[in-house]
């Protein structure tokens, strides 16, 4: 019996990881819901409004992007455009080469994972160090993040303590406070040694050119404190029209992502160090990354570009909770990833065409999304696309014969009667894979095909 890759991954997931993912996402969702409904009479109206603003941006990227470029340049920022992952890596490398830099400190950015920047730079003799605690642990383990905002959702503290011990960061100790202190001690002087700081951007505001970066550890501030050059790596869709939109978006992002009123550190960077400013990088670059996003924009799933990467849809998703992030084989896992990851592949869509199948279409993701993305509808569109492109879908029963039956009432009624054979035949002998798959988990109730119709006829007489 063939089942879907994500189902196999869930079945193979060890109990310790499964528990870590399940507990982490469940707690994240419950706190998020409490804080939103405690603080707002109707958070769903805020979600709808934020969704409309982001959809407006997505629909008008062609005017917002040039306007933003002009504003950034006016602010003294150098703007780079990267159409592919390779071009984005080259842009970062080019900037560093130009200043003779060899050491990079990084605040958390999913785009850098997406373009596989670390390996690219390493091959060219440049060391890049993750400074977000979760990403730092991922880097020590040569692992990948399993969650958009909690990259080590899949690890527990004992595993982390073992990683620290193995990497010479002190004897085994799984106290979170001790782990954090050790990471801090290790990272502090690295900030001073680095030449360049690389951050992502949660938002870039079109009217002001403000780059907004939020963290809970203050690591992006440390990154910017001693370096000469600041590189911002950001997807082309991360734009907000006006500064005042930040009031809505920062409030929704923090509550949806980490159940906070506000993320602890909110930085608004308007350009490189200005005259009269005592510190901060002298140079600032923004690298806008396309890497498949304009293809998404041209598709029927462009709504997914509203995403502000809060992770709420991962936390609430029952499939994510069972399978964990790595099952999605993508930088972006969970419901948002199931839409975005195959689309970002462009022509290589078939490689991840199974991801949109990994949903019971329960709609919980849509209900929690701070920008109200109709994720189930988008998953369905991609299922249709995969089918039209003839991409095989293991475990999904073929529907042709069913459609013929279901459009021929006489044949339908005959099938209802014929199905009674299931009540006498051991179902194990019926060679229908879907039935086998059903019975691997459940018992089928007795077949009562036609019984209701007969009853109704009697009642009417």
């Amino acid at each position: 019996m063939r089942t879907q890759p994500i189902d196999q991954a869930a079945a193979a997931l060890d109990a310790e990881t499964k528990a870590a993912v399940y507990d982490g996402s469940k707690v994240g969702h419950e706190k998020r819901t409490k804080v939103l409904f405690d603080h707002y009479a109707d958070p769903n109206r805020l979600r709808a409004l934020a969704g409309e603003i982001k959809q407006h941006v997505v629909e008008n990227l062609d005017t917002y992007l040039p306007a933003l470029e002009a504003k950034l340049q006016e602010n003294g920022v150098k703007v780079h455009w990267a159409s592919t992952a390779a071009a984005a890596c080259e842009a970062v490398h080019g900037i560093m080469k130009g200043t003779g830099a060899t050491k990079l400190v990084k605040a958390k950015t999913m785009v850098s994972e997406e373009i596989e920047l670390e390996g690219y730079l390493k091959d060219r003799g440049i060391e890049s160090l993750e400074t977000d605690l979760g990403e730092f642990i991922v880097q020590l383990d040569h692992d990948h993040p399993s969650h958009i905002i909690k990259p080590i959702m899949h690890k527990n503290r004992r595993q982390i303590a073992r990683t620290f011990e193995k990497n010479g960061l002190g004897a085994y100790n799984d106290e979170p406070g001790v782990i954090t202190q050790r990471a801090r001690q290790y990272l502090r002087h690295r900030y001073l040694e680095a030449d360049v700081a690389l951050t992502g951007a949660n938002f870039v505001v079109a009217e002001s050119g403000r780059v907004v970066v939020v963290t809970n550890e203050g690591n992006s501030r440390f990154c910017l404190a001693a370096t000469r050059c600041h590189i911002v790596l950001v997807g082309i869709e991360k734009i907000l029209p006006r500064d005042r939109d930040l009031g809505l978006f920062l409030n929704l992002l923090a509550r949806s992502g980490t159940a906070q009123q506000l993320t602890v550190y909110n930085e608004f960077v308007s350009g490189p160090r200005g005259r009269g400013q005592p510190d901060g990088p002298e140079e600032m670059h923004v690298v806008f990354v396309d890497n498949g996003r304009t293809d998404v924009l041209a598709s029927e799933c462009r709504d997914i570009l509203r995403c502000i990467r809060c992770g709420a849809c991962l936390n609430v998703c029952p499939v994510y909770r069972q399978a964990g992030g790595h099952a999605y084989r993508s930088v972006y896992p969970g419901p948002v990833g199931a839409v975005l990851s195959p689309l970002l592949l462009g022509k290589r869509f078939p490689e991840k065409a199974d991801l949109p199948k990994a949903s019971s279409l329960c709609g919980a993701c849509n209900e929690v999304c701070p920008v109200n993305i109709p994720i189930p509808d988008l998953l369905l569109r991609l299922r249709d696309r995969a089918h039209r492109e003839g991409i095989p879908s293991p475990g999904t029963p073929p529907m042709g014969a069913w459609a013929i039956l279901a459009t021929q009432p006489v044949a339908w009624r005959a099938a209802l009667a014929a199905g009674r054979i299931m009540n006498v035949l051991p179902t194990g002998l019926i060679p229908v894979p879907a039935l086998r798959a059903w019975e691997s988990q459940r018992v089928l109730p007795p077949w009562r095909g036609g019984e209701f119709r007969k009853w109704l006829k009697m009642r009417r007489q």
């Binding site: 089942t3 879907q4 994500i6 189902d7 196999q8 869930a10 609430v316 029952p318 499939v319 069972q322 399978a323 199948k357 990994a358 949903s359 019971s360 279409l361 329960c362 709609g363 919980a364 849509n366 209900e367 369905l380 569109r381 299922r383 249709d384 995969a386 089918h387 879908s393 293991p394 475990g395 999904t396 029963p397 073929p398 529907m399 459609a403 039956l405 279901a406 459009t407 009432p409 339908w412 209802l416 199905g419 894979p433 879907a434 798959a437 059903w438 691997s440 988990q441 459940r442 018992v443 089928l444 077949w447 009562r448 095909g449 036609g450 019984e451 209701f452 119709r453 009853w455 109704l456």
Partner: protein, 253 residues
């Protein structure tokens, strides 16, 4: 709400869509639906040509096959009378899903019209007919599983209101009520491990609340959950809410 823009009700004649699951497996839930609607004074018409709402193929990704079945439903339920469905899932297929797959089709208008006259049973009784309480008696504690395809509609609250109004009924809450049971149509066979694990988790929560009956407005969820419980050798009593309404009012004039 997903059900906004629905055609206002006039008259009390309704078309019953029994759903393929009730047609094949859960005859009693369909019978109960008829009896409940008749108790409310409705004239229940059952178009004999009906088959399925088209959702299995829609969710499975075969929209060409699904559209054929939806077109058949449009023809079968051609009368202007409201279509009442004892399933939140099949109802949502008609007022939401079908619109999506007909977006670029010339007959989108007819599909939208079918959606606008389609009601999930509980929503129809409470928000359509304005019924706020149910007569009779049913002595049981009830855990209500709010099926996912009633999100964004008035169905689950309507069902909770009706059940809670019955003398003898005690509604019990259980943990993580907003989580899916794991059925998901073709998902249940393409992702058997995840689907089964989701169902077992739901059952654990339900059992912890120790209800006499697990109730839902969707036989898909109940077939899946009941099937897991039976397979594990720990059967659980499941009923469609229409069965509760019928049984509560049994013997009343």
């Amino acid at each position: 709400m997903l059900t906004d823009g629905r055609t206002p009700l006039s008259g009390k004649r309704v078309q019953l869509m029994a759903t393929c699951l009730c047609d094949a497996f859960h005859a009693d839930a369909a019978k109960a639906t008829v009896e409940v609607l008749e108790r409310l004074g409705c004239e229940v018409v059952f178009p004999e040509g009906q088959t399925c709402c088209g959702q299995p193929a829609f969710n499975g990704g075969d929209w060409t096959a699904s559209r054929k079945v939806v077109r058949h439903a449009v023809r079968t339920f051609e009368s202007d009378d409201p279509v009442v469905v004892p399933s939140g899932s099949c109802a949502a297929m008609l007022f939401h899903g079908a619109k999506l797959e007909f977006e670029h089709e010339p007959d989108l208008g007819e599909v939208v019209a079918l959606g606008r006259k389609t009601w999930e049973l509980g929503d129809f009784i409470v928000n359509g007919l304005g019924v706020r309480s149910w007569p009779g008696r049913f002595d049981a504690s009830i855990a209500l599983h709010r099926s996912c395809h009633t999100r964004g509609t008035g169905s689950s609250d309507a069902v909770a209101l009706l059940l809670g109004s019955i003398a003898g009924v005690r509604m019990v809450e259980f943990g993580e009520g907003e989580q899916c049971c794991g059925f998901g149509g073709t998902f249940s066979v393409a992702f058997p491990h995840i689907s089964g694990a989701m169902g077992s988790l739901k059952l654990d929560h339900v059992r912890a609340a120790n209800p006499d009956v697990l109730v839902s407005g969707d036989m898909g969820c109940l077939m899946h959950l009941g099937g897991i419980a039976n397979k594990a050798g720990k059967p659980i009593r499941t009923m469609h809410f229409a069965q509760i309404l019928r049984d509560a009012a049994a013997g009343l004039p």
